[in-house]
């Protein structure tokens, strides 16, 4: 296929950016979207132009590095990561717009690459269970009911890509934050830090400058791992519970 790409180009965080237009030819339907960009970059290098910078690593949809807004959709038209999107989702002659995640909390590093360290800081503020190495009891000492284990797993699947923030009209990180809170708060191992975890992580999320949730549901639609919108509701409940308990202390 032959395609027209309009790609966001920006030299660095401070520089102004704009869309640039490129033509690519000989694209196979079996290529992944990133392999299509690889093809473009090979041509750009040989022409002596600066190739398009984009984050990518595992290309299996699990590391969460890739982060492209394709035709206005985070990760493009299919419910998957940019690296697992294949060119068979497009047709010959299409014009495709490629932009970086847009959020104040995710400044552009270069072209399509953004800085997502805000997510790391949210996890650092409480997204863990304090279990120093060596202090663990026998694994079978605390059985976990299967529904709880499944609930935890479903939320633990989050890959931290940031598509939820990119898709949300408010640039909100509620889905990301709720996924980790729900994963850890449902487990018996996570119970001792249940209240501080949700209070601290929500406070950090606000601190980072993410927007709030207006329940548009865009985040859950964009999530390549299918974290459900109701995850946010569960977090709200946890937060209210923790706030009440903190008030009593």
């Amino acid at each position: 296929m032959k395609l027209t790409l309009r790609v966001w180009r920006q030299r660095n965080t401070g520089a102004p950016g704009a869309m640039s237009t490129y033509e690519v030819d000989g694209i196979s339907a079996d290529m992944s979207f990133l392999e299509m960009l690889d093809t473009l970059n090979e041509e750009l290098i040989l022409k002596g132009e600066d190739p398009v910078a984009f984050d990518h690593d595992c290309r299996e949809g699990i590391c969460g590095a890739c982060s492209l807004v394709i035709n206005g959709d985070a990760h493009g038209p299919e419910r998957t990561t940019s690296c697992q999107l294949h060119m068979r989702s497009f047709s010959d002659g299409d014009t495709i717009d490629v932009e970086p995640w847009r959020a104040a909390a995710f400044p552009v590093v270069k072209d399509l690459v953004v800085d997502r360290s805000a997510f790391d800081r949210i996890i650092q503020s409480g997204g863990y269970i304090t279990a120093p190495t060596g202090a663990a009891p026998e694994a079978h000492a605390t059985p976990v009911p299967k529904p709880d284990a499944d609930f935890a797993f479903e939320h633990a699947e989050c890959i931290g890509c940031g598509a939820c923030v990119a898709a949300c009209p408010n640039g909100s990180a509620m889905l990301f934050t709720s996924a980790k809170i729900n994963h850890l708060n449902v487990l018996p191992q996570g119970a001792p830090e249940r209240e501080t975890r949700v209070l601290d992580m929500v406070a950090q999320m606000d601190e980072e400058g993410f927007g709030g949730c207006t329940l548009t549901g865009e985040c859950a639609t964009a999530c390549p791992k299918g974290i459900p919108l109701v995850s946010i509701t569960s977090m709200n409940k946890e937060w209210l519970r923790a706030t009440r308990k903190a008030g009593k202390r």
């Binding site: 309009r6 966001w8 869309m19 807004v69 035709n71 206005g72 959709d73 717009d97 932009e99 847009r102 959020a103 104040a104 909390a105 009209p169 408010n170 640039g171 909100s172 209070l199 929500v202 406070a203 999320m205 606000d206 400058g209 993410f210 927007g211 709030g212 949730c213 207006t214 329940l215 548009t216 549901g217 865009e218 459900p228 109701v230 946010i232 509701t233 569960s234 709200n236 409940k237 946890e238 937060w239 209210l240 519970r241 706030t243 009440r244 903190a246 008030g247």
Partner: protein
């Protein structure tokens, strides 16, 4: 605890949810009261007078009404201030817009902010029109709400403003009720459909109930 709530985006959402539900409860009662207009001026004016005597003799004349007014004003202010602050945060969180624009979310969701502003302006007009009579057409008569209502809905702009606001209200309630339930942690996978259905029914009943009055006046059912 108050500080924790007000300083947090989740807390402000909670404030919005609670104040919104207070107003929603009031609106349901208000809408039902409005329907008394179809039973004639005697019934309607008597009902309006009764509103001032609720709680007597324990409460003095109009005390209950003032308590309700104070609670409502507090709810409106809390709702509006949190909405304003949260919206500012939301807008700041996405300083650069996407070049490739796509319609996002449902209509009711997208119109929450504008709908809210319309409703805010409407409340001001509504009070100046039918409570204080400041902007009332045709000479406001205190103690004769039935006639005042007919006066308002005998003007084209009175109908236009009112019906627009009621439609905005329907949309606002449709997303707002469901949204408040989520904010308060009442939603769940199994309950989601029931909550959405409740929101739809509430929105529909309120819209129909409120619109019935100007339609009644326009069609001459109420005169």
């Amino acid at each position: 605890m108050g500080r924790t709530i007000w300083d947090s985006s989740l807390g402000k959402k909670t404030v919005m949810a609670v104040s919104g539900l207070i107003m929603l409860g009031y609106l349901v009662v208000h809408m039902l009261g409005n329907l008394k207009i179809f039973f004639g001026s005697g019934d309607f004016n008597h009902y309006a007078h009764w509103l001032r005597t609720i709680g007597e003799p324990f409460l003095h004349y109009e005390w209950a009404l003032w308590i309700i007014r104070v609670v409502l004003v507090a709810a409106v202010v809390a709702h509006a201030v949190s909405a304003y602050q949260l919206s500012r945060r939301d807008i700041r969180a996405r300083p650069t817009k996407y070049v490739h624009k796509k319609p996002r979310a449902g209509y009711a969701t997208r119109t929450m902010r504008w709908g809210g502003i319309i409703l805010g302006l409407f409340i001001v007009w509504h009070i100046l029109d039918l409570t204080t009579g400041t902007v009332h057409p045709d000479g406001f008569q205190p103690g004769h709400p039935y006639q005042n209502v007919i006066d308002t809905f005998s003007t084209w702009y009175g109908n236009a403003v009112y019906i627009t606001a009621v439609l905005a209200l329907g949309l606002h309630v449709r997303h707002g009720f469901w949204s408040a339930a989520q904010t308060l942690g009442a939603g769940s996978r199994t309950r989601d459909r029931a909550l959405k259905a409740t929101a739809d029914v509430l929105a529909l009943l309120l819209t129909a109930g409120f619109v019935a009055v100007p339609v009644g006046v326009m069609t001459g059912v109420v005169n």
